[in-house]
Symmetry: C2
Subunit: 335 residues, 2 copies
DNA sequence: TGTTACACTGAAAGTGCTTTCATTTTTTCT
DNA sequence: AGAAAAAATGAAAGCACTTTCAGTGTAACA
């Protein structure tokens, strides 16, 4: 007994009495084939249990229609929103989304070196990770269309924001609102080697502007806090229970601003009367809780990134782009 | 500038002055080719950075080490948390995560019919989507290891919760807290054909318990509201500006509970004194804003689902599992 | 020295699908 | 009814490899 071969497009063609081209069309662009024919074809397909083989398809198409995203803890709200932008664009363009969550340095290394080799990705988006020269080279040499978000590299497309300017905006706004005693809470020194340092820049801009305006900003008003809820709360608590507590707090991310708000609530501090809080990112949740914050267009960054890879996949000769996304201060109810 | 095409076996052949067949052999059965020739070939391969794509794919086909997740708007917090569970487990097991965001009926149909087919997925997790018999059959026939979350099917693994019981828990709790006038807000009738109806069940349980306890629950206290922020706010507003406004509101999802809270704030209603709010899901954010809610172990559901597919991939003979995850009422500060 | 065996190698035929191009059929318009 | 336009279809040419088949050239043997 011969092995029960899985049916191919040829079997379907024979059974339904049309050419393989028509089968292919019935499957991929149904509008280009007569409804009746299509029905016949579909019946044959069902009867045989036909299933187009991905490998063959990818070969013929010369693309897997799949793009990958490398990102640290992709479930943090800000990353999720970026991903949302990516996913929307990709889905519309009929591309698959493969996620590579990075939770360690080796992970990242491994991904970068093996991904292009696997050769089943058409493009790559790398979020919020610093990539080294050799890794970049490898990507480029393998012709992998790549775009970086929140990090830039001469030879790769990138989308960034001006974190320092963001810090300045916050400082200016707070000063203008009459605050004289300010505090800062954020993850200034991420431990990972591949981490980037946007928070540092935000603090820098913030600090400089305060200095320039002659507003005192003692070291003790700056609190390092990991992204985690517990850690942020602890830091917020320390900041808010100082003898001369600041009247306004700049949290380097919205999530951390929420922690501050929670602690303030526990301490019976009214916001914004007793304490002004301002965040950074403008995640969805910021609107829900009326948090004043700096919008960095997260969804948009993802959308743009996806559009850039897609564009480059279609036309590899496109010039490199380095996009600097604008920042806006969104006034809500916490300042 | 020509696009940096990735080299093919032809390029290698040209460079090393042999035929493509020899290249192929040098790679796949080295013993059948003259060592000198082989050396020449390998040099050319290295020089071009050639990577046999089909081979990689073929290997990948044996086991793609890749599992897919079909989910509606995967960026909604509750889905993200499930994904977080999935991703954690997968990443540890060295599996890739492919996300298929469903935004329309056809999408879903398309995925289910083409995914198993494509044969480049080892397993599949389908979240919060009702799948039809024929689709389930197709999955089973193609030997695709599948687990369903929030929906169950006799022949597929599934992880569900008891939504009705969740509704009952909320009602009991609210009654016990002395509330006599209750309201409900949720997306009772999702429009999509593939949608599931957990909210309906939650409402049912809620309603029944109230009836049994003799607490009146007029129709006008039930508001249908889409998941969207705007829609939820509108509904909350209507509910809260009725002449005899309820003293407690059950929002069928935390996100919608947040909308209720926002509207309450605008209306100058104090929570929980003027209005009690209780949600459902226990997303991360619930803790941040001290929302009382029903925990449905989102992360855990994802983790479990991933573990189930993985287990089944390793041992296809494993018995089907239908897991019913427990629900807990988490008391925080909004009731 | 003439055969034979053998190790290498290239041409070419698959592999299962997509897509272009040309052809046929149908529809629309005058 | 006839011409022009539009729709539907099939033939065939890829796609990037693998594998078979039929040679080559050379070493080994009688």
């Amino acid at each position: 007994m011969p092995p029960p071969k899985t049916p191919t497009i040829y079997d379907v063609a024979r059974l339904s009495g049309v050419s393989i081209a028509t089968i292919s069309r019935a499957l991929n662009s149904p509008d280009k084939v007569n409804p009746e024919t299509r029905t016949k074809v579909m019946e044959a397909i069902d009867r045989l249990g036909f299933v187009p083989k991905a490998e063959a398809r990818a070969r013929a198409l010369q693309s897997a229609n799949r793009i990958g995203v490398i990102t640290p803890f992709f479930t943090a709200p800000s990353f999720v929103q970026r991903l949302r932008g990516v996913a929307g664009t990709l889905s519309r363009a009929n591309y698959e989304l493969v996620i590579y969550p990075v939770d360690s340095v080796e992970h990242m290394q491994g991904y970068i070196s093996s991904i292009p080799i696997m050769g089943n990705l058409d493009g790559l988006i790398i979020m919020s990770l610093a990539i080294e020269k050799t890794d970049a080279r490898r990507l480029i040499e393998n012709g992998m269309q790549t775009v970086l978000i929140e990090f830039s590299h001469e030879e790769l497309n990138s989308i960034i924001i001006n974190d320092e300017q963001g810090g300045r905006m916050v400082a200016e706004y707070l000063i203008q609102k009459g605050h004289k005693s300010l505090g800062f809470l954020g993850d200034i020194e991420p431990p990972e080697r591949y981490a980037i340092h946007p928070v540092k820049s935000r603090l820098e801009g913030f600090k400089k502007t305060l200095e320039e305006a002659g507003v005192s900003f003692p070291k003790k008003n700056i609190k390092q806090a990991l992204y985690s809820q517990e850690n942020s709360r602890q830091a917020a608590y320390e900041l808010l229970s100082m003898s001369s507590r600041p009247t306004a707090l700049f949290a380097a991310s919205d999530i951390q601003a929420l922690s501050v708000m929670k602690v303030a609530r526990q301490l019976n501090l009214r916001i914004p009367d007793d304490l002004a809080v301002i965040g950074f990112d403008d995640i969805d949740m910021a609107d829900y809780v009326d948090l004043t914050t700096v919008r960095q267009h997260l969804d948009e960054s993802g959308r743009l990134a996806a559009e850039m890879v897609l564009a480059r996949i279609r036309d590899g000769s496109r010039a490199l782009q380095h996009i600097n996304l604008p920042l806006n201060l969104v006034e809500r109810a916490t300042v």
